[in-house]
C-alpha cells in the first residue's frame, strides 16, 4: 500500500518543526495548535463543533462508565477531561507535543493519564482500549499506518470514534496553498471523498455511523475571525503582542492584508463549505475481527 499523504519535515512551507515532535507527524498541527495563539483564537477545544460534538460522539459510541478510552492527539485535553468527568471513562490521552501534553495535564482535575507519544508507535499493548477517540487527527497522519496503529490498540469489537476534515475541488486547492489556512484547517492532508470507508476497511474497521458536521466549520471560522478582529482592535497601545504570538505559532503573520485579509480568507473558507468542497464529518467505526 502506498502512502500518498505521508508528511515529513519541510513539507508545509513556512512552518517550523518544534523540537521533540516525531517526524512522522505532520508538523503544521503540532506547531500551530501547540501555540498560545491557537488557544487565544480557537479556545481550548480545537476541532470544529468543539465539546458539543465530542459529547455527541461519545454518547453515540455506547461506552459504559469504566471503559478504557484513548484520546489520540489530545491537544489541550478538553475532550479527555469531558470523557473522564462526564462519561466516567478511564482515559489515556496522548499527543505528539510534550509542551501541549504538559499544558493539558496542568488543567486536569484528575482522572486522565497523560503522555507524550508518537501516534504511529503508541506506548500501549495490543487490544488495550475499548475505544479510541481521534478528533481532527487522522488527516495529520500517514493514512494506512495511522489507522493500523489505532486498530492495534483497540480491542476486537471496540470503537474508533473519529471526526475530521474532508475536502476536494478547486476551492480547496486554493485554500490548501495558503500558508496559514492550509495548515490550520488541515486542508492540505484532508480526506478525499469516499476515502474514509476504503481506508477504514483496509485497516480492519467497519464504519457504523457517519454524520455531516460541515456547518461547524463555519461556526469555527466565524469565531476565529471575530477573535482576530477583537485582538487586532484592542492590540493598539496594549501589552498584547500579536506579532510575537503569531511568530511563536509559526505563521509569521496573522495573514497578509490585516483584518480585511482575515475577512477575505474567512469568506473563502465559508464559501468552500457552502459549496460542498470543504466538509467536516464525524464517524463511529467498529474494530472488526
Amino acid at each position: 500500500m502506498t502512502e500518498p499523504m505521508a508528511a515529513g519535515p519541510g513539507t508545509t512551507p513556512g512552518l517550523a518543526i518544534v523540537e521533540g515532535i516525531p517526524a512522522s507527524v505532520t508538523a503544521c498541527c503540532s506547531t500551530l495548535y501547540g501555540s498560545p495563539l491557537a488557544e487565544l483564537l480557537v479556545g481550548e477545544s480545537f476541532h470544529p463543533g468543539g465539546l458539543e460534538s465530542t459529547r455527541q460522539l461519545l454518547a453515540a459510541s455506547g461506552l459504559r462508565p469504566g471503559s478504557r478510552l484513548l484520546d489520540a492527539g489530545c491537544g489541550l485535553g478538553a475532550s479527555a477531561r469531558v470523557a473522564a468527568a462526564e462519561f466516567g471513562l478511564e482515559v489515556d490521552a496522548v499527543d505528539a507535543s510534550a509542551g501541549v501534553v504538559s499544558r493539558a495535564a496542568a488543567r486536569d482535575a484528575g482522572g486522565v493519564c497523560w503522555a507524550t507519544a508518537d501516534l504511529l508507535a503508541l506506548p500501549f499493548g495490543d487490544a488495550t482500549f475499548d475505544a479510541v477517540l481521534a478528533e481532527c487527527v487522522l488527516s495529520t497522519l500517514p493514512r494506512g499506518a495511522g489507522l493500523a496503529e489505532l486498530r492495534r490498540v483497540t480491542r476486537r469489537g471496540g470503537r474508533l470514534v473519529v471526526s475530521d476534515v474532508e475536502a476536494d475541488g478547486a476551492a480547496v486547492d486554493a485554500l490548501a496553498g495558503h500558508p496559514v489556512l492550509g495548515a490550520a484547517l488541515c486542508v492540505t492532508d484532508a480526506w478525499r471523498d469516499g476515502e474514509l470507508e476504503e481506508r477504514l476497511g483496509a485497516a480492519g474497521f467497519v464504519l457504523e455511523r457517519r454524520w455531516d458536521r460541515s456547518a461547524s466549520i463555519i461556526d469555527l471560522v466565524d469565531r476565529v475571525e471575530a477573535r482576530i478582529r477583537l485582538a487586532v482592535a484592542v492590540a493598539n497601545g496594549s501589552s498584547l503582542d500579536l506579532a510575537g504570538l503569531a511568530a511563536a505559532a509559526g505563521i509569521g503573520d496573522l495573514g497578509a492584508g490585516g483584518v480585511d485579509g482575515v475577512r477575505r480568507l474567512a469568506d473563502q473558507v465559508r464559501d468552500a463549505v457552502r459549496g460542498g468542497d470543504l466538509r467536516y464529518f464525524a464517524a463511529v467505526a467498529r474494530a472488526a475481527a
Partner: protein, 479 residues
Amino acid sequence: MLPTLPPRPRPEGEILHETTRSICPECRKVIDAQVLLRDGGAYMRKRCPEHGWFEGLVYGDARAYVEQAKFNKPGQAPARISTESVNGCPLDCGICPEHRQHTCLALIEVNTACNLDCPVCFANAGAGFNLTVPEVEAMLDRFVELEGHPEVVQFSGGEPTIHPDLLEMIKAAQQRAITHVMVNTNGLRIANDPVWFADFAALRPLIYLQFDGLTDDTYRTIRGEPLLETKLRALERLAEADLHVILVAAIERGVNEHEAGPLIEFGLKHPAVRGVMFQPVTHSGRHPDHDPMRRMTVPDVLRAVESGGDTFRVSDFVPIPCCSPTCSSVTYAYLGDEGEVIPLTRVLEVDKYLDYITNRTMPGIDRDVLHALEGLWSAGSVPGNAEGERFVCASCDLDLPALTDLARRVFMVQVRDFLDPWTFDVKRAMKCCIGILQDDGRMIPFCTYNTVGYREETKARLAARRRGGRPIRVLEPAP
C-alpha cells in the same frame, strides 16, 4: 352507544409539545392550553368553554423553541414576597410563593396620561391617575424590602416625563439602594422643553427612548403621527448631556421590520446610544383586532436583524436565562476605535457557558465567569455596567489587557417579546423577572399585569382614590 364522529383534521406533521395554562382572550378566564410545533413555529391553541377555540403564534422557530430549554437557569428567591397561593397562577399576584424568580427590573407607572395617542399602546394610556411622591417612595421602599439590593427601577407611564413630580421621584430612587434608575419615555418633552430637560439631565437617569425606526411612515402607523424629527432632536439633546440611551423599537410585521437592521447601524454610530431593544408590538391593551397567527416573535425579529444589516446574525443572539428563555434574546458587541463591531457571542462561546443542562455535570466552569455572564445576560442588564468587564477579564482564555475599558465599548441588541392574551403562558409568567410595583405593595409580573386584568383593576383603584389630599388631575400634553 355513542355515535362516532369524524376526527378533527390537524395540520400534517403537527406535534403536541406541551400543555400549560393560559387565559381566554375574550373573558380572561384561566383555561388549559396546548403548545404545538409545526411549520417551523410554536403555536398556542386553547379552548374557552364559552368563547371557543383560539390560536396564536408563540415563537417563529420550532427547533429553537425546544432547544432554548438548556438556557433555563434555576430561579433565585426574592428576599420577601407579598401574597399567598390561593387560586393558582396567574390569579395570586404577587409575587406569590409559587413564582420561580426574583425581580431584576421593577417598573413604576407614575401616571396614565400621555402626550401621544399611539394606536399600539399596551398601557392603554389616557385619563386615570397620577401617583404622588409619597406613594412612589413607599413603592421604592417596598422594592428594596422585597429584593434587598434591587438592580433596576424604571419609571414608566403613561408618559412619565409629563408627571410634574418625576424629578423628585428619580431623586427618591437614587437615594435608595437601587443600582440603576431608568426612565422609559417617548422623548417628546426631552426634545421640546429645554428648561425642564436641564434639570432632568442633571439627575443622569438611564433613558429607554421609544424609537421605532428612521422613517415617518413607521411613526405614523405605530404612533399616529410623524415623529422622526422630534425623536432625532431628543437624541441630540441626550447626546449633548452625555446620557446613556437604549433605543426601544416597537416592531410590527409589515410596518417596520425592515427598519431593524438600519436602526442598529444608526445606533452603533450615535454617541448617546448604548443599545437597541426590539419589542414586537403587544396586542393586549388598545387595538386588540389583529391576526394572532402573524405576530412578530423573537426569531422573526432576529431574522429581520440579520437580513437588514451586515453586523449581526441570528446565531449571535443567546436567550436570557433568568426569565423564561423564549421571552428574550440578547447579544453584545465590542466597539473598536475604527468602527469595528465585533459580536462578543461569536468570540466567547457564551451559549456553552449558559447551557444549564450540560453545566450541571461539567467540571471547570468558572463560577466567576458564569456569575459575571449572568449579570450581563439578565433582563435587568444595563449596557455600560461593570459586568461585561468582569466577564471578559474572568474569561482567562481571552486575556486581552485592553478590554479593561469594556464598559464604555459594549453595545447591546436585545429582543423582548411580551405575552399577549393569545400567547399568555403560566409557565413563562411564573419565571418572569420584570415586575410592576403596585400602590398596595404587590409586585405583579409584567405580562400578567397586562393580560390577565390586573392593569384594569389597578387603574380603577388608583383613579378612585383620594390620598394625601391631592386631587387627581389629567395633564395637558406638553408643548
